[in-house]
Symmetry: C2
Subunit: 531 residues, 2 copies
């Protein structure tokens, strides 16, 4: 069963190895374990619903509790402390576009606010109900997860919006296809959520971001249904799909999604290379992507992330051997781990691998074959589980991300890391910070930074620490030419920083669209666009 | 000097070869030559301007005449007959964003309508002034054509919006880069125009459409300046660039364009292959593009276009030899000419060529090397000049285009061709119709259809014939899952069909945006969104 107070399946546990704990203790101090609330304790706090009965709406306390929070660190602290704050007044489970329209009409009639809910994996506060006079209905798309149709000539699949990663891939794989969209949240997040929040998957280098995959569909709004027919390309005015993508539920509820699919590849391989320094590594991956070498995935860890990953990997003896070998070949202290993938026909893959190896070697890279690449592939969706292991050891962990042009990547990365590393210096607390680049483009790269800190003596202190760290890093991003999100979306947590990149006029244009589709502001007010 | 009543430079002439004339006479009847008006005759018709003087505005009659019409067939007929209808009351030539803002303020103060003008190459009526009470100022961006900055790490170049194709490429080539955007209008059309109308170039397969190239910039609107910072990718809400692209001047005037550029390729080659039948050809190119073979260009002519091109090519003896050879190898009657390009590093190109040849051979393709490919490359921007040659021989020619998913390409193409071929049947007139696919995607393809017909005895009759043909084909497109434009934009000519693909709610959303940016509707009213 899915955890009510954390990530993923209850049966999947990821523990911190003993030497991993020592590694962190050395860097930020010994862990500080806080006591978790029990489900029963929290259930007792769920208030009476303010909604009248409706056949599509559950008023059940546990259902409401399980749809009250996402997966941000504040959500985690709320769930672990049991201080949820608000709960939705009910959760609806429509099974068709018609039922969504029925619920919209009912919400208007009953003066209810609506929160569209995909997989509940937001890390930016998208789905959290707020205190207020109007009751809140969370609208889960979980029962609309079917593969409706495949156009095999055009390679377009039509899905219900609630299909999560495994549901999307298993239904496609049975027919010989893949969507190829693998965000880290893949086990739980959904197609509709990916579209609404402009998601990006780990293999975006081959398959593109959701922007390249989303071919059309439908949006149910308070002003009517917006149908988005599929065209391979069009010059007929602004692209309405681009209004829906990133709208985060503010304009309407996605009721159908058409996506561009790909026949399953003949072969897929992931390789690792250790680069002797960050400077060389950075130049190497920029050169690689700008030369259009057809890789399917590329991820570069900086020196601290490389060190941290090797320390937390388990198998210290093998790692020691590996490090000895690497040092002999020129990748010693300060080395950076680079993982890349090739996906496609065997002959294509062989050619791509050859090109990539030659180029990386030119920058001093030491090739270590598929062993660590395989490990990456096996563990690609496990990172979110690690929060549990860290928490049990007394550490809080969070990640944040941006993207910027190549000329700014190194500078922005250093500023972000510095803002976090020094973020708790005033109280003499250290923060362990490390970064990888995992989505690369000709123009620039995403920057994905992880920070580990001690929660302090209480949940209040933990939240306060997080707020200071998050604010410092977000400000650094917004003020230094980074987008406030490359893949997590805006939600509530990033909304205060959006105006810096969209501008006053751009924000007003988005407000005008929101007013057009949702004149009474019933759809997740405060998300994306602040009230 | 640029022609005042047709395409391109006066010094460039393209004549119809004698056997080409015979070819057409056989298919639609002997040509009907109409008399052209002289520049003096038209100049005499330019009325007094209704504008007061402004230092940035020219009221000169010839300047106004030269900015009154685009390059659609109705524009051609207007220019050739001398019946221009409306002229702008003046033409402004700003040299900076500040001067654009000054002109916007002046337009408001003087109650003037504005038409942004790039290269004047619209084939959909974007830039034609309309009759009305308010004076009309055409705002040419011709003096804002400079390369302002290159970020060589991020491969981003910043240009003035008025840079035309040769200005863009020559300034970039001097630094070792290319934009790689080559629409057929490239000699005259501009960067700002490409962005405003969602242009696509002949090598979109490698470089992408303008959507993939446009990284940011600025839009001057009546509500203020919309700054679009560059990010490699972002999940921070709807993408405002996507509102600007395709806005066709309705929201504001593009004052700066940042584009993604590419280092000049080591090698570029174009090859031709003759496919034995349309059915095999269609399946072959779909397979090729869906297999992601890294080609830079792909163009497939149907059998009638192949026949027509060979007939109009000149060198009938060599063509006869070629056809004999092709027939012996299995590509006889009904053969379809396919041209493709590879651009990049030599080794990459060799691998791509090998893949493409093998795949096409599997569909019966007969490879004929680079000879015809070179010809294509040499003549890639000459087609618009051919209208002159045809006109002088007594024929009118026009093209129209759409895009649709692969499952619908063949069906839609046949319907479009049939609607044109039968379009003048009521008056016993034949139309020569042929098609190529030149922009291909995994999901589907563009369809580009050319039609040649006789103008009849007068300009009125010619326009009437065109209207009937255009209407029949546009309706066919709109009613059969085609976009009303893949690359030419909406303008006035396609505006009546836009609602079919955007839907009522989508149209209202675009109207809401127009009202937001331009509340007094001063910017090209009637373009994109009908009044």
């Amino acid at each position: 069963m899915r955890r009510w107070n954390g990530w993923g399946e209850e049966t999947t546990e990821v523990q911190l190895p003993a030497h991993g704990e020592a590694f962190l203790a050395e860097r930020v101090g010994p862990g500080q374990v806080l006591v978790d609330a029990s489900l029963e304790q929290v259930l007792a706090k769920v208030p009476h619903s303010r909604l009248v009965a409706h056949p599509l709406v559950s008023l059940d306390a546990e259902t409401r509790l399980r749809h009250a929070r996402g997966q941000s660190l504040p959500d985690w602290l709320a769930m672990r402390s049991g201080e949820f704050g608000q709960f939705p007044d009910g959760v609806a489970f429509p099974e068709s576009a018609e039922q969504i329209r029925e619920l919209l009409a009912w919400a208007r009639q009953q003066n209810v606010l609506l929160i569209p809910y995909g997989g509940g994996t937001s890390v930016a506060g998208h789905i959290n109900p707020q205190a207020g006079a109007r009751p809140v209905l969370t609208l889960s798309l979980a029962r609309m997860s079917r593969l409706i149709e495949i156009d095999e000539d055009s390679l377009i699949a039509t899905f219900g919006p609630g299909a999560n990663g495994p549901q999307v891939e298993s239904q496609l794989r049975a027919r010989g296809y893949t969507l190829g969209h693998f965000p880290q949240s893949w086990e739980l997040s959904t197609l509709g959520g990916w579209v609404a929040s402009r998601s990006s998957g780990q293999q975006s280098l081959r398959y593109g971001r959701i922007e390249q995959l989303f071919a059309g569909g439908a949006l149910e709004t308070f002003a009517g249904t917006l149908e988005l027919p599929s065209f391979p390309a069009s010059a007929a005015g602004p692209d309405l799909r681009e209004m829906v993508m990133g709208s985060e539920g503010r304009f309407g509820i996605i009721s159908e999604v058409k996506v561009r699919i790909t026949p399953l590849a003949e072969q897929e391989r992931f390789y690792s290379v250790f680069m002797p320094s960050w400077a060389q590594a950075l130049q190497a991956i920029r050169t690689l992507v700008q030369a259009r070498v057809p890789l399917s995935m590329l991820r570069l860890s900086n020196a601290i992330e490389t060190e941290t990953q090797l320390a937390l990997a388990g198998h210290p003896r093998q790692i020691a051997w590996l490090e000895k070998y690497l040092a002999l070949r020129g990748a010693g202290e300060g080395k950076c781990m680079l993982t890349f993938g090739v996906t496609g026909a065997r002959a294509q893959n062989a050619a791509s691998l050859k090109q990539a190896r030659r180029l990386l070697k030119g920058f001093g890279g030491v090739f270590t074959g598929t062993l660590l690449g395989k490990k990456w592939a096996e563990n690609r969706f496990r990172f979110p589980y690690l929060r549990h292991g860290l928490w049990a050891a007394g550490y809080a962990v969070d990640t944040l991300e941006t993207a910027t042009d190549w000329s700014n990547v190194d500078s922005l990365l250093n500023k972000i890391e510095a803002s976090l590393r020094q973020g708790l210096a005033a109280e003499g607390e250290r923060v362990h910070v490390f970064t990888h680049l995992s989505h690369v483009y000709g123009e620039g790269s995403s920057i994905y930074t992880t920070y580990v800190f001690r929660p302090g003596g209480s949940y209040e202190q933990a939240l306060d620490r997080w707020q200071r760290l998050k604010q410092a890093a977000s400000r650094t991003i917004a003020e230094n030419r980074g987008t406030i999100s490359h893949q997590h979306g805006v939600g509530r947590d990033h909304a205060p920083y959006l105006a810096t990149e969209k501008g006053e006029l751009g924000m007003a244009a988005l407000q005008a669209l929101a007013a057009h589709f949702d004149p009474e502001r019933r759809l997740v007010p405060g998300v994306l666009l602040e009230e």
